[in-house]
């Protein structure tokens, strides 16, 4: 489970400069063997470190974003993706909002 938060300057035409902020957080379990090494094999894993989302709990994530003084329009996007295996992720939820700033 991966949360991605991105802020883009929509007035910026250079794609490399468009992203002003990005953050990612992973929610997962670390399986480890009895020597404390991270393992993937079901027979090797004897303990887990639980970094997943817990039932009946709300996980709160908060980000403070400061842009440059000439930024007028910002698109903020939050995407929650679920990776069932390896690199194949499905977007579970996405929220996108555009902010306008008075820069005078």
């Amino acid at each position: 489970m991966v949360l991605d938060v991105t802020a883009r300057n929509l007035k910026e035409t250079d794609p490399e400069k468009q992203v002003m902020f990005s953050a990612q957080k992973n929610y997962f379990e670390i399986g480890r063997d009895l020597q404390g090494r991270m393992r993937y094999g079901a027979w090797q894993i004897k303990e887990t470190v639980d970094l997943a989302l817990q039932p009946m709990q709300k996980q709160k994530e908060q980000y403070l974003l400061n842009f440059d003084t000439d930024v007028e329009e910002v698109e903020i996007e939050a995407i929650l993706s679920y990776y069932i295996s390896g690199g194949k992720g499905d977007v579970v939820h996405t929220v996108k909002e555009t902010l306008m700033f008075d820069i005078d």
């Binding site: 079901a42 989302l53 709300k58």
Partner: protein
């Protein structure tokens, strides 16, 4: 009168001894996969339960072996052979297949080893004739009707329940199926503990723990312990015997709340380093995200 009592006693004794036999007591061991499937013949189930059969046919239970070939192959080749330096036996293979194909409990030692070899071939020779043939044969093994409705039906509490009877169909209600088959109620099948036989840390007969997934531990310790009351079946049987879970996007979406609050403001001039004009207000925002796990277990899990 005495003769009559003796006769009744004889009949009762015979019923006790030769009456409904448990699976363990009655079943012979199969030497081929086809023989195994004949012993646990499920071909007639769909004649009356076609809707349920169609749901199940699209489920991951229906491909519980072929969808996990890579993992089971790794267990055989890396776990059993390389790391444990031991022989591939039925007992070792059941550490996977007791759940992925419970009928293998009734395979002979020879057949179990052959199945293990097939799994290795199917993985190593994938896309080649030998691999495809092995996969086709292995596709016959799955979590089928009788896996739950007979073999595993009473295994949650074998001390209390005893063993499943050969040929008996166990269901949550024990409804009369007429001449089609005998039915007995197994309330266990309505409880989470029934699913937890496989959907949790698995303890093999020799004590080895296998952590394909740990979901039942989270269910018990972080959900029920916090007051949660839903069962596995409440959510994962909403689409009947399709049993949707993490591979079903709709189910995942339903299980996770996502509330994003974006709060714009202008930060005080001169307080943020690196901006073009330190004398100006700095466009800013606070993004607060609440992800609610509405399921009865940690997310994600195996």
């Amino acid at each position: 009168m005495h003769r009559c009592n003796r006769l009744i006693l004889f009949v009762l004794s015979a019923l006790l001894i030769f009456g409904p036999m448990s699976l363990q007591a009655m079943q012979k061991e199969a030497d081929t996969i086809d023989e195994l499937l004949t012993m646990f013949d499920e071909t007639g189930c769909m004649e009356c339960h076609d809707e349920i059969h169609n749901e199940w046919a699209d489920s991951w239970h229906a491909k519980a072996v072929v969808s996990s070939l890579g993992s089971i192959h790794n267990f055989i080749e890396i776990g059993i052979k390389k790391e444990w330096e031991t022989e591939v036996t039925k007992g070792q293979l059941l550490k996977c297949l007791d759940c992925h194909a419970p009928v293998v409990n009734f395979a002979s030692e020879k057949l179990a080893v052959e199945i293990a070899e097939m799994i290795v071939t199917a993985t190593k020779e994938k896309g080649k004739p030998a691999g495809d043939a092995a996969t086709k044969e292995l596709a016959k093994l799955k979590v089928g009707c009788l896996s739950c409705h007979n073999i595993k039906a009473l295994r949650v509490a074998p001390g209390f329940n005893g063993s499943a009877e050969e040929g008996m169909i166990y269901g949550p209600h024990g409804e009369d199926a007429g001449d089609a088959h005998e039915t007995l109620q197994a309330v266990d099948m309505t409880r989470s503990a029934f699913c937890m036989q496989c959907h949790g840390i698995y303890t093999a007969a020799d004590g080895e723990t296998i952590q394909c997934n740990t979901i039942s531990g989270s269910y018990q310790n972080a959900y029920v312990a916090q007051g949660g009351s839903q069962t596995c079946q409440d959510c994962h049987m909403e689409k009947g015997h399709l049993f949707p879970g993490g591979r079903d996007l709709e189910t995942v979406q339903k299980g996770l709340g996502f509330d994003v609050q974006i709060n714009p403001y202008q930060h005080l001039p001169g307080k943020i380093e690196g901006v073009k004009d330190p004398a100006k207000w700095v466009p800013s925002a606070v993004v607060t995200i609440f992800i609610e796990n509405k399921t009865g277990h940690r997310v994600p899990d195996g």
